[in-house]
Symmetry: C2
Subunit: 383 residues, 2 copies
């Protein structure tokens, strides 16, 4: 199966995860200007394709991986000369780039390198910088970078990492806490779920993402369900999805997200990269490999049940910490703000009905708490 994976993921190898960035801009999935804007002609300038044409020097792969989506870059000239090493992924190009209207790939490579060296998550760091830019524009901050200001973003990132100055203490706690401290209108544009800044996929472009972000156990995460790809290119016949689902349709998405969260919990436990899905790998061969390696003889239902148990177990941790329906929600900008242009100009996901479907499919009560019956079924009654 390795040759097939390699063949089908050739684009991912050639251009990296940011290869599809310009396509995402056209689909309305690429976040722009802290999730406000609908389209942006500069998207091409920060894409993986452009990266391959300019600063890309090599690729790398995790151990044993036939894909090799990793980027190696080097910036030889200009203000960011000297950047050398791992290059930015899609999430980073978007978070440090389009989200902040920064259209300079070398600057993004610099910001990426700084995050790596400082040990900062590029999505959260980009989310915080975009939040700061909007706060500055609205007069809630009187210092910090403005939209598109790459140099200002770099300075802010240094300050946050080193906790230099008052602003760094405000922003270094993430957008939720920063917005709570600033108060008032800042709460309108604090883009997070459960305190975690949003990844770079727009729930207005892919309705399933609304449910995925709202219910992900660690806060907004595109990987716990990975569902947007099943609204664009991927299928999973074994789960009842032989075809790609329409992205602006709400029906069935609650159930789909729950099923995919269970599957992805399995992927994570197996330390299996989700990109093999692009290689045409579906559930059946994974189960075969699993049974070969472990010597067990699980059927598909038993296999998926493990994923469901993992997901519910994580939920129970959250429930004990006070999480419920009130926390399973999105920033209102994504539910109320139509961007009016781009690839999803008018779409707004109806999160209410999708979440109701999701809870019902999961066997949770209407407040998002796993029912005693569900816990008994999963063998988690002690918790």
């Amino acid at each position: 199966m390795l040759p097939q994976i390699k063949e089908r993921t050739a684009g991912l190898h050639q251009y990296g995860t940011a290869g599809g960035l310009a396509v995402y801009e056209r689909l309305g999935n690429l976040p722009l200007k802290n999730w406000q804007q609908g389209s942006w002609p500069q998207a091409e300038a920060i894409s993986g394709v452009r990266m391959a044409e300019t600063i890309l020097t090599d690729t790398y792969a995790c151990g044993g991986c036939p894909i090799g989506c990793g980027r190696v870059v080097e910036v030889g000239e200009g203000p960011y000369a000297g950047v050398r090493g791992a290059g930015p992924e899609y999430e980073t190009c978007a978070a440090m780039g389009s989200l902040c209207l920064i259209d300079d790939l070398s600057a993004i490579a610099k910001l990426n390198e700084l995050c790596n060296r400082y040990g900062l998550d590029t999505i959260s760091a980009g989310g915080v910088i975009a939040f700061a830019m909007e706060a500055r524009e609205r007069g809630l901050l009187d210092e910090g970078p403005i939209w598109g200001d790459a140099q200002g973003a770099i300075e802010l990132l240094h300050k946050i990492a080193r906790r230099e100055g008052e602003l760094s203490w405000l922003l270094g706690e993430g957008v939720r806490r920063a917005a709570e401290k600033l108060g008032g209108r800042a709460l309108d544009f604090a883009m997070h779920v459960k305190g975690l800044e949003l990844p770079m996929h727009d729930p207005r472009a892919y309705f399933s993402v609304a449910v995925g972000y709202a219910t992900s156990n660690r806060g907004a995460c595109h990987l716990q369900a990975f569902s947007h790809l099943f609204e664009r290119v991927l299928t999973m016949p074994e789960l009842g999805y032989p075809e790609v689902l329409p992205r602006d349709q709400a029906e069935g998405k609650g159930e789909m997200v729950a099923k995919l969260q269970n599957l992805m919990a399995l992927f994570d436990s197996l330390k299996l990269c989700k990109f093999v899905l692009f290689g045409g790998v579906t559930l059946a061969p994974i189960l075969t490999w699993f049974n070969c390696v472990t010597g067990w003889d699980l059927d598909q239902g038993q296999f998926l049940r493990i994923g469901e148990r993992i997901f519910n177990l994580k939920r129970l941790f959250n429930v004990r910490l006070g999480v419920s329906r009130k926390d399973d929600w999105l920033p209102l900008r994504l539910l109320v703000h139509r961007r009016g242009e781009g690839g999803a100009p008018d779409a707004l996901p109806p999160l209410g009905p999708m979440l109701a479907d999701y809870y019902a499919y999961r066997g949770w009560d209407e407040e998002g708490i796993p029912t005693p019956e569900k816990l008994a079924e999963l063998g988690l009654t002690d918790l």
Copy 2:
């Protein structure tokens, strides 16, 4: 026109505002068990029809009113004997009755009398009692009434009004503050908007009510838009509504609520009772009367513009106090909880798109702030 009003509102005179309570139960509009339940056979027992058959002794009318929806009741026997005077309206029968699963009309009359004497709003008081009942059921409170416990509700009301005991200090501040103090799961069933307890019309039964509650300037209010009636019986050709609109349709409801809020602001300023609408009075005769009384010569556009100015002016007060989109929302129970039975078993209002429509029609920005252009148009630029 008076004979026409009198004839068309004969039912309102005969049975009071609670006359339609059982119909509302069948439509899924009557709140039950703190907005959890879909149907309730006991609704008839607390309706205006039953009131007329039992404790009603007389009716009364405000000065000059041809309708006379006011109730005069007397409870002659049983534990609530001695109640005498103004009887409960629909809102009170629902808030003190169905919301708490109290099916005893005499007890509701007693609770109504106590609220009147203590100077408590019956909607808020009922909302607080229902909240307390749910908190008790969920183990968040270890004292207070349980569902349907009329005597316990009466005792709690006394305590709240007199601030006797710890519980009264918790609940006497309303459901928002009580829920914030209790924390955790209590936030899931604190039914309020902007701190005001909800009136007795369900946004799941009448989608326009979702927008009306979310944007009403004083918090959840059924009177600032009065829109649910235009989804059931009323029309207003002058505003572009010659027919009743489908209640479970989202399209056009944002605009409709804005128009009706403007109109109702005029009604309130004129001290005009909205029940004349049931008498077949529409905008045209009101404008004629207005011009006759004032000696002015306003056309319909100028007339409605006054209402729009009033509504925007109120909004500006709120904006100065920090109100924005984040506050224009509903308790998630109404967006996520399908009741599964009754007259609106599956409906959940898609508040996001409706609110986007509403802001756009109002000429407010996407955070719900009136734009400078709109303020200039309304002659409110100084504010």
